[in-house]
Subunit: 219 residues, 2 copies
DNA sequence: AACTTTTTTTAGATTTGCCTAAACCTTAAT
DNA sequence: ATTAAGGTTTAGGCAAATCTAAAAAAAGTT
């Protein structure tokens, strides 16, 4: 079956909200989509008719099995395009989200198959988020923010949860990117800042706010 | 200014029809867009309001200066994406039109700029049609179909006007592609067929229909 | 438990792009 | 010049996706 751009956007955003809360509310989705709650209710009915949702009036909603599958497919397309934009076209990763938002709705299955292969089957997008495979499966890496990571360990940056230009500027300044390995030296309890050491460079201290937005994993 | 997918499709198709006839008719456009004449009239009014058309009721219409500029930009996007699909993703050229139809509406200017550079500023799409530059300019190559080309001359294939799978099959069979050079040996008046010689291979005879759809230029 | 606040839904409009059917022009033919 | 035929436009509607305003349900407060 084929879905409209609007339907796909609703599905995708329900999926993303579900990563934080099991069931999603009308208001939060309206907020995410920059639309009005009444519009959300309308679309929910439609998606329920198409059997993509579990939805009870006034009680919130969540994607069912097939809704989830479709969402993962959209996420797959989005992340593959983001990878393409950064890796092949040389975009900075804070610029690609909007463009991928449009590209993700191009419907050809063959296109995505070939794009995946052209990109050499990447596992994560430029922000470190995993790219689901054709069946919606992806490896879940156990990761923690630098703020929570144990001291004295060497870890690898796996993703960043903020994709603003300001964030990019900071990461460039500290020479940190996805895949960079660094050592957590010390957590300062006073302000939550963390001393880290990136590769051969001198140790430096990053703010709590930054530490909370950089996720790392072991080895 | 920004245009809807629908508006862009109208503009593009008016442009294409104008290549054959100076002014376009409601019916022919409706036919091209697989829509109804009444719908075309509706959209014409809208495009006229937006100052992209010269249009007099019952009298046909054509793009004005700015309409033309927009059309050429859409054509540029379409052809760049076609080039990408064939050159980078390995699609056969009879499969790319539909996909490029969707991709061409992605609106980022920066995207197209970078795509162009990534593809190394191609001059023509996979069917040999010229890719307009940012200002809508492109080199016009004087070309004739093999059916009309003078005998005893060596020519270079510059484009094909039919993009069906059947056409592709024939071209592959004769080892003909865009850029292939071949010699026109003889025109048979009886059935319009033409004897040609492709590179080092044995001379062969192609039908009038095929000859009419392959365009060539000198040197 | 009753009232207030917040959230969600319904009802009714609006816009865009499309449709059918009917009216309207233009052209070509007698 | 009239008429027939064809193409074009208007009128009126429909579906998708949105909105505002009002009603209904749930949650929070005293």
């Amino acid at each position: 079956m084929n879905y409209s751009v609007s339907e796909e956007n609703y599905i995708k955003n329900i999926y993303h909200l579900q990563q934080q809360t099991e069931t999603v509310t009308t208001n939060s989705l309206a907020n995410e989509l920059r639309t009005k709650p009444a519009s959300v209710t309308d679309m929910l009915k439609k998606l329920q008719t198409k059997n993509l949702l579990e939805y009870k009036r006034y009680r919130g909603f969540k994607l069912n099995e097939s809704g989830n599958k479709i969402a993962l497919n959209i996420v797959r397309r989005h992340r593959l395009w983001e990878f393409f934009l950064v890796d092949k076209l040389g975009f900075e990763w804070d610029k690609v989200h909007e463009i991928a938002e449009e590209l993700e709705h191009v419907s050809s299955v063959e296109l995505i198959k070939r794009l995946d292969s052209f990109l050499n089957f990447p596992q994560t997008d430029p922000h470190g988020d995993p790219i689901p495979d054709t069946n919606g499966k992806f490896a879940v890496i156990k990761q923690v923010s630098i703020a929570e990571a144990a001291a004295k360990k060497t870890v690898v940056v796996s993703s960043v949860s903020d994709q603003s230009p300001g964030m990019l500027e900071m990461l460039n300044h500290y020479h940190i990117g996805i895949g960079t390995s660094l050592k957590i030296n010390k957590h300062f309890t006073f302000d939550g800042s963390v001393e880290i050491k990136v590769s051969q460079k001198a140790a430096c201290v990053i703010s709590e706010q930054l530490a909370k937005n950089i996720f790392v994993h072991h080895e």
